[in-house]
Amino acid sequence: MQLAGKHVLHAAPPKVWATLMNKDTLARVVPGISHLEETGDHTYKSTLDIKLGPVNGSFTGNLQLDDLQEPSSFTLKGQQNSKIGNANAAIKINLLPVGTNDTEIAFEGDVKLSGMLASLGQRVMGGVSNTLSKQFFANLEKELNNTTA
């Protein structure tokens, strides 16, 4: 399944970068994280609890931030397993400065689904991924506002 989207954040790229590179803030912005444990440099063991319509399950696996090009881009890699199916993702994230104090965050990548997640098809999973990415941007926005304050 192909994923793509973008969103403008009211913060400059270095600040967005710092928020995403920090384990504690990352745990707050990625939707559904109930456990995040650093196992290496920008490499984590994670548990995500996701309840969205038919997608209702606990995902365990790895998250990794790779190809780090501070402060402009990185790749989010993840292998997440659950009883309702596995997801294997590689998503390129670009941070583009807009004006003097804004950032356009854009993502693009591919998620390989298996099991029931795959059988639900694009129609359902497309909606699920849209909702998750909206949550991600909202959480990130909130996190950036909090640190400003």
Partner: protein
């Protein structure tokens, strides 16, 4: 002799009282004392090595009774394939083990890795989620053609090129090529007959128990053929004594072929029931049903049809890659071969035919018979080719068929028709059904309306399909010589009770076809008694002597004929009893309207009194056994060959590509008809399934072997508002070789309908100048729109 007119009458179905009032009794309704429930842990990958299965946490969970994995079943056989097909060079087909649980690697999404058995289904579900499975995903193959190319991943490590077998039938290829070279026009078509999900309304369900005292097993199964399941499970899988196994198929909510096969779960539950000394039940979830019920079709084909200057077909050449999925299902090997290649004569006098089939393993759900089974694929191939040829040669498609039809023959005065592809048709009047269809649709008027529509910028099309099928499956000696590992006879027992009421035991199984009505009509008609005095019993191996079950439109032609044989024996014996009582010779007794009469006199005895005498034999022939109860095995002399003509009229929206089915005309010749209402119902249901394939349905796998439309959100089934009122009619050409003259009607609708729809859409597109040869089914708006627009640009 017809005596009370029950044969041929649209009697209301006796089974519908329980079905429409919620009193059906399905396998999942059966709850046994000490019942346990099973849930499976299944592979999420299409192809993966099993690295580790850890059941320790799950075993300790509440209610869990046992968990078994592939390692526990290392010494248990897999489920067998029932039909051996040989390679062209004579080698036996590749038939890798189809294990009850996989131990080494999973070969399709849904392959079972472990079974969890608990006190309740919820507990089993929770524990199954706690089974830890580590899988190493492997490269996979999905498409049949790609799977045989060099370098493709191997589904079974010991099956080179993923080829189960290759196979050919018909005239030598050189002769076909030579004839094709002389053709003045050759129509070539490369197409896909897409994979379908069977979608029976009742999901598969099994409940197996073992009694340690009697050492007897009982398996309740949602099967179309309980005796066959017993035979396969006892003799080939578990090696348990057949007389200690009772298999019951109670009410079954539709099968369409998908419940013919012996599934791994049936045997596994039976095995588990003995390990635990408790009954074990499993009912498929709908999502499992999408992934595990054997799929249908899935052929990739290239076909060429050559014509001479008069439009006579001179040669047909076919190459098909048939996707069998990950394992050989029970009858999977005979579908693309003996139920497909043998039908490529169609209704035409084609003198040279060669068909070549490569049967391929892929990392997908096993593929087997689905309503029509091979014959829809053959019909689609022929009927698409001939309609396309008519467009290419600018001749009328109906006229092109008339030029090529085999002339009428009744199989009695005129002999049967020997085809180039092994079969001998029994009787036929092929031009008759097309003539009737043309009248019904008012062909000149449709063509006039099409021209007018084209003038107004609209796309209207008419498509034909004149089909034949081989049904009444099947003469045992013939199918045996072709590799079938079973006989395909049927058993019918007629037990007249002392009071003259009749119990009929049939090896045919009813799962929607209405046997309890149709078979009772035959018996009541022939014995001259009331319909309510006949009860039809089926589906229980302890009460029915034997049976090969219901598929291939065989119940009436084979099962009904077995009952007819027993009826004849009842009447024959009744005559002897009557002769003794009437002090006449048995030769002088005639039976009609429920009465045994001395010929030429008014001295007679009613059927009821003869029945009572047979059981209270006080005044009775000395050399005659008491009782009035006969069982017969009937092995058909030939297949039966129903045929017909389906015509579709469609309108295609130029802007969106949306296809609207405006009319559907079906003229079917299924031989003699016992219950016209039931036959019409079968035709309607079959036609809808064919329309489903043409316009709506199709299992879609992604390149990782994941089924991406495994739910009703994405797998589109036809609905009532997608369909016009069907216009149906029947023609009757009796079958010359069975006592009822019947041919079978279960599959006709599905076999004939899909190509008529697609042909109509192609015709509509040509009427607007879009010379499209093929659009892949299902014909979604997007595909039709793309086909129109790619040619324009």
């Amino acid at each position: 002799m017809s005596t009370n007119g029950l044969i041929g009458r649209s009697v209301k179905r006796v089974e519908d009282k329980r079905f429409t009032t919620g009193h059906g009794n399905y396998t999942d309704d059966i709850i046994l004392p000490q019942q346990t429930y099973a849930v499976f842990v299944r592979s999420q990958y299409a192809h993966a090595r099993i690295v580790r299965v850890d059941t320790s946490v799950a075993r300790a969970m509440p209610g869990v009774i046992a968990i078994f994995t592939g390692a526990d079943l290392a010494n248990v056989n897999g489920v067998p394939c029932g039909w051996q097909v040989n390679f062209k060079n004579g080698d036996t087909m590749k038939e890798p083990k189809h294990p009850l649980l996989v131990a080494d690697k999973a070969r399709h999404v849904g392959d079972a890795i472990a079974i969890v058995i608990a006190e309740s289904k919820d507990q089993a579900t929770d524990a199954a989620e706690a089974v830890e499975v580590e899988l190493e995903e492997l490269p996979c193959v999905v498409d049949a053609y790609k799977a045989v190319q060099p370098g493709a991943a191997l589904v079974h490590d010991d099956v080179p090129n993923n080829k189960s077998f290759d196979w050919a039938l018909g005239n030598p290829l050189e002769e076909v090529k030579e004839a094709m070279d002389k053709a003045t026009h050759v129509t070539t078509l490369e197409f896909v007959n897409q994979r379908l999900v069977p979608n029976a309304i009742e999901p598969r369900s099994y409940n197996s128990s073992y009694d340690p005292v009697s050492e007897k097993y009982t398996l309740y199964t949602s099967s179309q053929n309980p005796h066959l399941i017993r035979l396969l499970m006892c003799a080939f899988v578990l090696g348990i004594p057949e007389h200690k196994v009772r298999v019951v198929s109670p009410d079954v909510g539709g099968g369409f072929g998908s419940k013919i096969f012996h599934y791994t779960e049936e045997a596994l539950l039976t095995w588990c029931s003995k390990q635990l000394n408790r009954p074990v039940k499993w009912t498929s979830e709908r999502s499992e049903s999408f992934l595990l019920d054997a799929h249908g079709r899935d052929h990739v084909t290239k076909a060429e049809m050559g014509f001479d200057e008069e439009g006579k077909i001179v040669a047909l050449r076919v190459k098909t890659y048939a996707n069998l999925g990950a394992y050989l299902s029970t009858f999977s090997s005979c579908i693309p071969t003996y139920l497909h290649g043998t039908l490529l004569q169609g209704l035409y006098t084609t003198p040279k035919i060669n068909v070549d089939v490569t049967a391929v393993f892929t990392n997908t759900t096993p593929v087997d018979a689905y309503r029509g089974a091979g014959r829809p694929e053959a019909t689609y191939l022929l009927e698409r080719l001939i309609d396309l040829a008519a467009l290419e040669m600018d001749v009328d498609p109906a006229d092109l068929r008339f030029r090529n039809f085999i002339p009428p023959f009744d199989g009695v005065q005129q002999p049967g028709y020997q085809t180039q592809v092994a079969l001998q048709y029994d009787s036929g009047n092929y031009e008759g059904v097309l003539k009737k269809g043309l009248e019904m649709v008012n062909y000149p008027e449709v063509r006039r309306a099409q021209q007018e529509a084209a003038h107004n910028g609209k796309l209207v099309g008419i498509g034909f399909s004149t089909y034949i099928e081989a049904c009444g499956i099947a003469p045992s000696a013939v199918v045996g010589s072709l590799g079938c590992r079973a006989g395909l006879f049927e058993v019918g027992q007629v037990r007249v009770q002392p009071t003259g009421k009749v119990s009929v035991y049939t090896g045919s199984h009813s799962h929607g076809q209405g046997h309890e009505t149709t078979f009772a009509q035959i018996v009541a008609d022939k014995l001259g008694i009331n319909l309510t005095d006949v009860e039809v019993v089926h589906g229980d191996s302890d009460s029915v002597a034997f049976g090969m079950g219901t598929y291939g439109s065989r119940s009436l032609a084979v099962g009904g004929s077995a009952i007819m044989k027993s009826i004849e024996k009842i009447i024959e014996k009744g005559k002897k009893i009557a002769a003794h009582k009437l002090e006449a010779s048995a030769d002088d007794i005639e039976f009609a309207s429920g009465k045994f009469t001395v010929k030429g006199t008014d001295r007679s005895i009613g059927f009821g009194e003869i029945a009572l005498t047979a059981y209270v034999p006080h005044v009775y022939p000395k050399d005659l056994e008491p009782g009035l109860d006969f069982s017969s095995f009937y092995d058909p002399a030939n297949f039966t060959y129903p045929f017909g003509c389906h015509i579709a009229v469609v309108e295609v929206d130029k802007e969106t590509g949306k296809v609207s089915l405006k009319r559907f005309v079906a003229v079917d010749d299924v031989g003699n008809v016992i219950n016209p209402m039931i036959v019409e119902g079968q035709i309607h249901g079959g036609v809808v399934q064919g329309i489903g394939q043409a316009l709506f349905e199709g299992a879609e796998y992604d390149e990782n072997g994941q089924l991406t439309n495994g739910s009703y959100m994405d797998y589109c089934m036809p609905r009532a508002d997608d369909l016009p009122m069907f216009e149906t009619a029947s023609q009757v050409t009796p079958c010359p070789h069975n006592p009822l003259g019947v041919k079978g009607a279960g599959e006709a609708g599905t076999i004939g309908s899909a190509p008529a729809i697609v042909n109509a859409v192609i015709d509509a597109l040509w009427s607007g100048g879009h010379k499209v040869k093929d659009i892949r089914m299902p014909l979604t708006s997007e595909r039709v729109w793309r086909a129109m627009n790619e040619l324009i640009s």
